[in-house]
Amino acid sequence: MILQGKRVALPSAPVVHKQFEAHVEAAPDALAVSCGGEQVTYAELDARANRFAHFLVARGHGRGAKVGVCLDYSVDMLVAILGTLKAGAAYVPFDPAYPAARLQLLLGQVPGLALIVASRATAGMVESAAAEVIGVEELPGRLAGLPATAPDVPVTGDDLCYAVFTSGSTGTPKLTAVRHEGWFNLMNWLKLEYGLDSASNNLVVSAFGFDLSQRALMTALFCGATQYLMASRNFDAMLAYRLLTEHDIRTVHCASSTLYLLVDWETARGGDALTQLDYVLFGGEPLKFERIADWAQRENNYCTLLHQYGVAECTDVATSYDLDGHRPCDQDIAPVGKPAYNTEIHLLDENLRGVAPGEYGEICIAGASVGAGYLNGSGPENEKFTTVVVDGEPRRLYRTGDRGYVNEAGDLVVAGRMDAQVKVRGMRIDPTDIERALGRLAGVREAAVVVTYTDAGEAELTAFLVPAGGELAEDDLRNGLLQTLPRNMVPARFVNVLRLPLSPHGKVDRAALVDSLKNQYAGSGTAA
């Protein structure tokens, strides 16, 4: 079973910053970025990015280099990103809200990291033996006198544009890199398919490290519109809603759970800014339509909801479904729709043979968006990039590990995982990563982390711990983890157990752990 996206010709060099530069030429005085009190035009943003590109090239960090960006949302962030691309390099986003220990672990996973841009306040957290750290406050001084025109760096569609961290299954985050062609293709598809143009101003509401944030940051600039940023390190529904109300913002890209929070905010306070948007493009986790049903079915709700599916390894979005009439159709699970341009969805069995229409298979992605793979070392994950032969032609594809089928309308429906990978609030989580962090805490002999569901159906993490001595206090465990993990990786619940149940194969029996919760008081306590 193959779903074939429309074939749409791309330019000979599908390079993201060239598209931005075309808008600079056509409308230099148009507003490019607005963040807090700071606003810059396309011409100003371009000139600053060009100077930063020259700065990188002069230091030998041109084509093929990797540049870390550890900044809060700001005009400078987009200067750093566009400048990096113009230099022919790829950027790696680092969220300054992460604990220093986590940032250090991630930095160590970037081979050949040349340079990191950080603010003075966070520079200490990203200090690295291998890479130079440049304070963003020093940039104006350092860039003064450099040319405001673009450096002459040949960049092709196969060059890397960014790399983001995703969860693998080995306990170490994987750094997955994507190519200009894939990113260009993604934004070109959104632009043409949904008619985005210079009026499609966007507000970024997601955290910088996410793959979806890279697209959210760049699509407005790809289309000649204004990119609005929140001068906030953390997602702020109040600020976001204020910006949506005060400015002519037309699009928002977000995780499903963020959409729920925005809808809750509007519903509780009776505004209409969300319903007046052109598009909310959302996904990353199964839609719970009942969470937004009342809002979605409001009269005069003009917002088109695009329920999307994709993976970071294949440049973010692979398919999109228009929740037409704001109903998820008659099925329990909202479909994720049809493929992006130049994208194929293959549903394969365990022998990599296509399944029949309507049958379940592993969702595999082929086409322009397939990324360059993982940059940090070899591992079983690399085997998920493979080649199959279709109609005598080899196709490079990525096996997502997601399970799905194609319904009668020809739309893809995602239905769980082939393996144990879990997602919490749209973020892929590797339980081993958290188990390792728990194992390093004093008094923990063994730990297992599983995903559980609240009464409201929200996914959350529960940690089961075998103490080395006395029972472990929940608050101590949390405090310990908050030193080394991002907040969204810290489990919501901790359960002390005498031992971890094992499957017949000698592995931790996660299903038995989940079952054990159903039979007892749902909180901290002693089980098994």
Partner: protein
Amino acid sequence: MIADRVRAIWCRELQRDDISADDDFFALGGQSVIMVRIQGAFIEELGAEVPMDQLFLNPTVASISAYIESLSAVTK
């Protein structure tokens, strides 16, 4: 005074009644989703618009209460 009302909101949203003035929100099991509800409650019940960054920077009843008092001092 404000601290009592802030503490009552925290206890309600975190569903525990053993919160003291210097307990850390995240160590109490607080998550960003709960923080959004607290942010909303501060607007509705205290008339205080507190940015999320300030809620994260002031993760105890004592410190966020002091912040809210500084807000009302400015508006007076």
